[in-house]
């Protein structure tokens, strides 16, 4: 599994569940926050845009109102002049009025204009030009620029053409007064005669351009924002960088502005940056346009900064939370892991606490059960090993039973003294064979042939010792000789039969040792017609009383039985049938085993 996942995360192989959980949570949370931030950004950007548009619109509306009020003011002054009787008389083409008579009018008009000029700092000059060639201004002495006759000026011509309506000029240099070149915005208007039809002259009022430019300069629409004015035809009336536009170093979105209705705004995003154009129409034909740069607007930045800050905090909290959560989730696992490590070290007394009934709780419980089972198996294995060692030790002792050896040698000596040479040879060679059979290497299993040889030699020796008391028969089927059996399996039983069954018998006893096949098993039988045993005695044999030092030299039946079962499994073993004064029959059942390998495979205690 791990191998499969490697290629995906080759740099950070996740080594702990907690890390995996933390990463999974973090990814999930980051993704969610990223998505929310993105959408809220979009939303707030939209809201901010809307707000800033409203703000600019409001500002431009203010500008519009102010400029409008300047123009209205000029308009009012023009109305004043229009309705002024003195002005009418003064410029009337009536030839009956002499110059002398006109003089006081001129003074009165000039005084009037002067008083207006005193109250209005934004007005540069007020003048009236009669078609009769007279003119009067707000000054006592007015010297006109000889090179700039009024009737050639565009405001003059415009007013004549407009026929009584007021005309607003673009900002221009007013040069009609000698040695004065002032930037003004002119309002000019044709003055009608008393009859209201014929015209008598042109009225001119000039507004200082600085009044307008100061107003526009004071507007705060960001560091780079500015205001400009275009007229109906799209010609620029005022622009802070008018010279650059004339020199084609700069372009302005005139076409877009002309298309935009009053009170609306539009956004432009080009190489100069993202900005909003807000357009307002004045009622005298100018369009006032405010331009604000998106990056400049304070609200815009503030909102975005806040939303970013919030998402940053959110991410930090989320990450901490995911670490904490993963820590909490993986704690039981880590506890279990700690316990497992203890078990690894060999401590089987560990018991994992089962805190909750979820998967991990179940895992803990199973773990506990497993540890218990292992513990049992371990103790079982230990006792088994112990038993085996004990029986092996006993077996070893039985092989070289010093008593038996001493007796046998004693018999040989005795026979030698009797000069029974043949018997000596027979017995000695039997003893030799016996030992050869019993010391057959370290192998636990020997062919039945060897076992047969061993028993034969043993019986021969015993027969020669107890010739008067012992009769024996050995009946092994030829077919079983190739199978294997535990080493020295039969000798203890034969020994028992001789020492406990036959020896105490007044007459001769017979021992029959037989081996035969029965289905998949091999059955050995050691039968005697000796004294036999009671059921209690048999019981005693199976469960011998704790160590009686002298007596326990031989191999207990129980041990032998255990040895077989350990080696071949519980299906095999020993059974004893005995009747007092009738005899005893010990039946030994082992499986057919042809070679060692098989035996080992079958070994585990099933």
């Amino acid at each position: 599994m791990l191998r499969k996942f490697r290629p995906f995360l080759p740099i950070f192989p996740l080594k702990s569940i907690q890390a995996s959980i933390a990463v999974a949570f973090s990814c999930l949370i980051l993704l969610t926050i990223a998505a929310t931030t993105f959408f809220s950004y979009r939303l707030s950007a939209g809201a901010v845009r809307h707000n800033s548009e409203n703000y600019i619109e409001e500002v431009i509306k203010q500008v519009n109102t102010n400029i409008q009020s300047y123009v209205d003011n000029m308009e009012n002054i023009s109305l004043l002049a229009l309705t002024n009787k003195d002005v009418k008389y003064y410029i009337s083409s009536n030839s009956f009025i002499t110059d002398e008579e006109r003089r006081p009018y001129e003074k009165r008009i000039s005084d009037l204009f002067q008083s207006i000029l005193y109250t209005r700092k934004d007005i540069a000059s007020i003048m009236v030009f009669g078609y009769n060639g007279r003119y009067v201004s707000d000054r006592r002495i007015t010297t006109l620029n000889p090179n700039a006759p009024p009737r050639e000026q565009s405001w003059y011509i415009g007013a004549r053409q407009a026929g009584g309506k007021s005309v607003i000029s673009a900002p221009h240099v007013q040069n009609i007064i000698k040695d004065e070149y002032r930037w003004v915005v002119s309002l000019s208007r044709e003055l009608k005669n008393t009859d209201g039809i014929t015209a008598d002259g042109i009225f001119l009022v000039d507004l200082n351009l600085s009044a307008v430019s100061d107003l526009l300069r004071q507007i705060d629409i960001g560091k780079k924002g500015y205001v400009f004015i275009v007229d109906r035809e799209g010609d620029i009336v005022y622009h802070p960088q008018q010279q650059l536009i004339y020199s084609s170093l700069r372009t302005e979105r005139i076409a877009d502005v002309l298309r935009a209705p009053s009170g609306t705004s539009f956004a432009v995003d080009d190489e100069d940056g993202k900005r909003f154009y807000s357009v307002q129409d004045t009622n005298f034909g100018w369009k006032i346009v405010g331009v604000a740069y998106a990056g400049d607007l304070i609200g815009y930045k503030e909102t975005l900064r806040n939303s970013l800050l919030i998402s940053l905090i959110g991410i930090a909290v989320a990450l901490l939370l995911s670490v904490a959560l993963s820590h909490r989730l993986s704690r039981p696992i880590r506890n279990l892991q700690r316990n497992m490590r203890l078990v690894e070290k060999g401590n089987f007394e560990v018991k994992a606490p089962v805190q909750q009934m979820d998967e991990i709780g179940q895992l803990s419980r199973t773990f506990n059960m497993m540890v218990g089972q292992i513990k049992n198996l371990m103790s079982e294995a230990i006792s088994t090993q112990e038993n085996k060692r004990k029986s092996e030790l006993a077996l070893l002792q039985s092989q070289i039973n010093p008593h038996f050896l001493y007796n046998t040698l004693d018999s040989i000596v005795w026979m030698a003294e009797q000069k029974q040479h043949e018997e000596v040879v027979l017995m000695t060679s039997a003893l030799a064979r016996l030992f050869r059979a019993s010391i057959a290497k370290d192998q636990e299993l020997v062919p039945i042939r060897v076992e047969l040889e061993h028993i034969r030699s043993y019986m021969l020796i015993q027969k020669m010792r107890y010739a008067s008391q012992l009769e024996y028969r050995i009946e092994f089927e030829e077919g079983i000789l190739k199978y294997k059996t535990l080493k020295i399996l039969l000798q203890p039983f034969v020994e028992n039969a001789i020492y406990h069954g036959i020896r105490n018998l007044p007459e001769k006893g017979t021992i029959v040792v037989s081996g035969r096949e029965q289905d998949d098993a091999i059955i050995f039988e050691v039968e005697d017609d000796g004294v036999g045993m009671t059921a209690e005695t048999i019981e005693k044999i199976w469960n011998p009383a704790p160590v009686e030092a002298g007596f326990a030299k031989g191999i207990g039946v129980g041990n032998a039985h255990e040895r077989i079962r350990l080696f071949f499994g519980p299906a095999y073993g020993i059974s004893i049938r005995s009747e007092p004064y009738e005899g005893t029959r010990v039946t030994i059942k082992i499986p057919k085993v042809e070679n060692l390998r098989c035996a080992i495979i079958n070994t585990p205690g099933r």
Binding site: F12, N147, L209, K224, D235, K274
Partner: protein, 328 residues
Amino acid sequence: MRNHKYAWALTLLLAAAALCAGLYIKLYYSAEGGDRSVSVVLKSSSVRSNFWQAVSAGASAAAKEAGATIDIQGPLEETDADTQVRLLQDALAARPSSVVVAPVDDPRVSEAVQAIRRAGIRVVVIDMPLQSGTAPVSVLNDHREAGRQAGETAAELTDGRPNVAIVSDFERSRVSGEREAGVREAVKAYPGGATEIYYCEDSEDKAYEIMKAVLAMPEPPSVVVALNETAALGAARAIGEAGDQRIKLIGFDSSVYEIRLLEDGVMSALIVQKPFNMGYLGVKAALKRAEPRGASRVSYTDSIVVTKSNMYAPENQKLLFPFDGDGS
């Protein structure tokens, strides 16, 4: 194991922080010009000098457009090299991102500019090139081209037979020298074109005397080109007194007096520079990170020919009558 998981949390946290920081930077500094600053040292900061006030307005306009901060300084007198050197040293001490300078014709000024360049500050020279040393990026007034325009205008006024008297100030003046060369170049191209040079040493009276002498010649020249204002005013006085309408006068730059002469018809044409554009382009070049490969390091602002008939055209009014509300 413990370290491992914290490393993970830390990595993620750092990644998130980096992301946010990146967004911050993008939000704050892409729209603005960063903290770029320009120091502008002009030849003159006198409020009475329309030309330099227009340069200053143009420079401010460019700085505002780029969102950079700008500091404009200059001596009161156009020839005050000592003050300009001091101002340049101040600019160097303030360590702005770039410096725009309209150098006074003096080797010490060149040296001060080179010192600023050596400090790794971007320098743009406007108006006139440095007297010595290698030229950094420059936005210059093309005085030779202006002279050529004067010469062409002279030819137009005389139906292609210009006989021109040039009234200059000093022989060593570089501006006048360039203008003179331009006039000669243009006039030479016409058959019968002739030029004669006179120096008035920046004195109106001397120009008047010279002009009187010239007009008294048996065959007076048909066009007088006065290379600066004093020369133009002196010459105009002489021509006005003579009342000879055949003699055409062509002047340079614009002042109220020259404009009046133009209105009066004594002055036939004025060659007017575009100082606002020069200031604007100078600062704009200064705010650029570097020149595009292959781009010229020197650019010129043009001049226009203003006559009585076009002097009140909207685009010319702005040049002839500087308005202090400009560029704000």
